[in-house]
């Protein structure tokens, strides 16, 4: 009788354990799905940042002045743009985020066609496999002083600046 008691206790423990683990395994394996990582959060943050940086750069700092962004495009000053953009995009109160890198293109309308030229980048080689987002800003250019060939028309116009950005 003493022996029986002991055996029963052990077997109960083993049985309950096996039962629970098997059930849990079955249930977990049938219902848990592999969800694609929430890359949308990163996209959302990066897109917001890119849009903010471009919008800030496109705000004149003094009444009546052109915006810094307009001046960079007017003068085709790609290094000025790059420094300005990276300063805004990479400033953070606490370190720990990857550095922002970017590549930008200007699209313009020439009669019925759309043309484009490479404008500025952060000097990084793009493998084409980064996790990128693309933001854009319409920039009013009153007068192209130094249009890159074949180039946009010489008139006041609105060009579309597209910036593709990604983190390290």
């Amino acid at each position: 009788m003493v022996n029986e008691n002991g055996v029963l206790y052990t077997i109960e423990g083993v049985a309950a354990g096996v039962l629970m683990i098997t059930t849990a395994y079955l249930v977990v394996s049938t219902t848990v799905m592999f969800t694609p990582g929430d890359s949308h959060i990163i996209d959302m943050q990066l897109e917001q940042l890119g849009n903010d940086v471009l919008a800030s750069m496109d705000t004149p700092i003094r009444y009546g002045d052109p915006s810094p962004l307009e001046l960079y495009i007017t003068d085709n000053d790609s290094s000025g743009f790059s420094n300005h953009f990276l300063l805004y995009a990479n400033t953070a109160a606490q370190p720990g985020f990857g550095r922002i890198k970017f590549n930008s293109t200007v699209y313009y309308r020439k009669d019925a066609d759309v043309g484009s030229y490479h404008f500025s980048d952060s000097g990084d080689i793009m493998t084409g496999r980064e996790h990128m987002v693309n933001v854009n800003r319409r920039v009013f250019v009153k007068d192209y002083t130094n249009p890159p060939p074949p180039g946009p028309d010489d008139r006041p116009q609105s060009v579309l600046l597209e910036v593709t950005l990604w983190r390290d």
Binding site: L26, S29, M33, F34, P36, M132, V133, N134
Partner: protein, 262 residues
């Protein structure tokens, strides 16, 4: 001592063998019942979960395709877990599903033959076929479509729209074609790599407001009712063809998404 002898006396009235047999019988019946009913339910649930998982995956892929198309992101990749079936890339030239757009005034084909032979737009698709082959989930022409038990539904719509805010009715149709260099098919975990190619943009300003007919052809009639129901949101129709009246301007954009790897 009296207590103990009383206890022994009580136990002696019970047969251990019969008790064991009863217990064993109950256990066996229980196991049998669980195996008979519980397990198939579980398996069925698993199959459902797999399909649901794939539906979710397809919607995630659709939003990646949207990023490629509308946000001009050059490259996207997405990790997929494919279980309970096969995921494959059907590139555009090999299928029998295609779209046509016709200006009914004068019967002009509006899809340019230069880019799309025969004025037919073959979208191709990203397709999931379930194990038993009875359920298809496809990302076709920017829409997520599902075929099941002889019918089909559209889980997520493409971005087609009519803008009639001004005096003229503008119809905007956005087509997405799937292209790839190889025939990919996968089960298990795969990383779908996609890149976008320069889209073709066509825009017609019609001399007078005309009816525009959109046709969806599907010899297997896989997604027939899905597209018919979607077309119904533009104008009432009973088959996979819709005629949208008095359109003044038609804008069509043909995007191409290239699958680089799976």
């Amino acid at each position: 001592m009296t207590k103990k002898s009383k206890k022994i006396h009580k136990e002696s009235g019970v047969s251990e063998t019969i008790g064991y047999i009863i217990l064993f019988g109950i256990m066996t019946t229980g196991i049998a019942l669980v195996t008979l009913y519980g397990y198939p339910v579980l398996l069925n649930e698993q199959a459902n979960a797999n399909v649901k998982n794939m539906e979710r995956n397809m919607i995630a892929l659709q939003s990646d395709v949207k990023s490629l198309n509308f946000k001009n992101v050059p490259y996207r990749e997405n990790t997929l877990q494919i279980s309970g079936g096969v995921f494959k890339v059907e590139k555009f030239s090999t299928d029998t599903k295609y779209f046509k757009v016709i200006n009914e005034t004068g019967n002009y084909q509006l899809i340019p033959a230069a880019s799309f032979p025969g004025n037919e737009f073959h979208p191709g698709q990203l397709l999931f076929i379930s194990e038993k082959g009875d359920i298809l989930v496809g990302l076709q022409n920017g829409a997520v479509v599902k075929r099941e038990q002889g019918g089909s539904t559209m889980l997520s719509e493409p971005r087609w729209f009519i803008d009639s805010s001004g005096s003229d009715k503008i119809l905007v149709l956005i087509f997405t074609q799937i292209d790839s260099d190889a025939d990919y098919a996968k089960s298990g975990i795969g990383i779908l790599q996609m890149s976008s190619e320069q889209p073709v943009e066509v825009s017609y300003l019609l001399s007078s407001a005309s009816p525009i007919r959109i046709e969806y052809h599907d010899t297997e009639s896989d997604y027939f009712s899905a597209w018919r129901n979607y077309f119904n949101t533009f104008s009432a129709t009973t088959d996979s063809t819709v005629t949208i009246p008095s359109v003044k301007k038609v804008i069509m954009k043909f995007y191409k998404v290239k699958i680089l790897g799976l």
